[in-house]
């Protein structure tokens, strides 16, 4: 069955619908918008203003100007607020797309992600704040609660597990985390949409039967830091395509 999926991926590899979104993200990045009528071209995603090559692969990261560890989405929202003058509410209202309602964030993250395609994930978490975030992510990964005693590790902490036809890699290893993290953001065929990592992890909390976290919540960024640290060294293949 995993073979069937591999064939399916191959068939779609030449034409990932996410490519269209990447193009849209590229023009949104350069377009003057918002109360300040500014583009995002001066946005610092961690490697300096406007430097996007490899930026996604090295996030989450500690940012001096906000004194926070930020992921690609929280940093992007920060730039849209500070450079373009949007309010947080305006920026995050459509943080994920619904049928008939597109999401600028999805497009921009797809574009920014693609700028790291072919590069190695690089989140060693050496800054003390990053190291702390990675540790807190590890804690959340193993924390069990809810009506079915779930933790992330119950579904993603062992080799060779699956839910129905979906292989669930072991995200605590470099191989498992790398295999998963290198393909995000990803076009999800079953959803007909590109999902960002925030979307993926918030939905996994739903699968854990937990209440719903805030978009851009620290707990999600901590998990991302933990997973990217585990995946460090893996070459990015993004945008991905998934079931």
């Amino acid at each position: 069955m995993a073979d069937e999926l591999a064939k399916y991926r191959e068939a779609l590899a030449d034409g990932n619908p996410a490519d269209l979104l990447e193009v849209k993200g590229e023009s949104l990045w350069a377009e003057k918008r918002g109360p300040k009528n500014a583009s995002l071209e001066q946005c610092d995603m961690g490697l300096g203003p406007g430097k996007l090559e490899g930026a996604y692969a090295s996030l989450p990261k500690y940012f001096k100007d906000t004194n926070k560890v930020m992921d690609v989405e929280s940093r992007l929202v920060h730039c849209m607020m500070t450079l373009q003058g949007f309010t947080q509410e305006e920026v995050t209202k459509n943080w994920y797309s619904k049928p008939g309602k597109e999401s600028d964030i999805e497009a921009l993250v797809t574009f920014i992600g693609a700028k790291s395609n072919g590069m190695k994930i690089n989140v060693p978490a050496t800054h003390p704040e990053e190291a702390k975030m990675a540790k807190m992510g590890e804690y959340i990964f193993y924390r069990r609660s809810g009506p079915q005693d779930f933790s992330c590790s119950i579904c993603h902490g062992q080799e060779g597990k699956r839910i129905r036809l979906q292989d669930l890699g072991n995200l605590t290893t470099k191989e498992g985390a790398g295999f998963a993290m290198k393909t995000w953001p990803s076009y999800r065929v079953s959803q007909g949409a590109v999902w960002t990592m925030q979307r993926r992890l918030i939905d996994c909390m739903r699968q854990a039967r937990w209440p719903e976290p805030n978009y851009l919540a620290d707990s999600i960024i901590a998990l991302e830091t933990y997973l990217q640290k585990n995946a460090t060294g893996t070459v990015m293949e993004t945008p991905g395509i998934k079931r």
């Binding site: 807190m136 809810g146 933790s151 590790s153 739903r206 699968q207 937990w210």
Partner: protein, 129 residues
């Protein structure tokens, strides 16, 4: 006699190192575990109903499993198994097989206890994601 002592020492040494090895695999979160718990709890939407939020509570078993990354030493594992086995309640009427038609209905809904605002589960077998 000498052999016995030597054996005894070797054995205790093995025990000591395995106990050490267990200690060495630090509990997840390390010195930030407390901060992490606080941060995790503060990360949920304010409009989650209170009874949803109770799903974040942990009993002793959940806490212990977290501590040992789901692999507690056998002795502790046995204790947890006993503790949890003691909570199993058989149906009061003594019938162990219920109404499978009711069971089928539950399975078809596929919500399986999911909660949240983003995506209420559609009924049907593809509700999982």
């Amino acid at each position: 006699m000498k052999l016995k002592i030597a054996l005894f020492c070797a054995l205790t040494a093995t025990f000591a190192t395995s106990a050490l090895a267990q200690k060495a695999a630090e509990a997840p979160g390390g010195k930030y575990a407390k901060d992490a718990e606080q941060m995790f709890r503060a990360s949920f939407r304010a409009d989650n109903p209170k009874y949803w939020m109770t799903r974040l509570e942990q009993d002793e078993t959940m806490k212990t499993c977290l501590q040992y990354r789901d692999n507690p030493p056998r002795k502790i594992g046995e204790k947890l198994e006993k503790l949890n086995a003691a909570t199993i309640r058989y149906p009061v009427d003594g019938k162990l097989i219920g109404d499978w038609k009711e069971g089928e209905k539950l399975a078809a809904v596929g919500t399986g206890g999911h909660i949240g605002f983003i995506q209420p589960d559609p009924a049907g077998p593809r509700a999982w994601r």
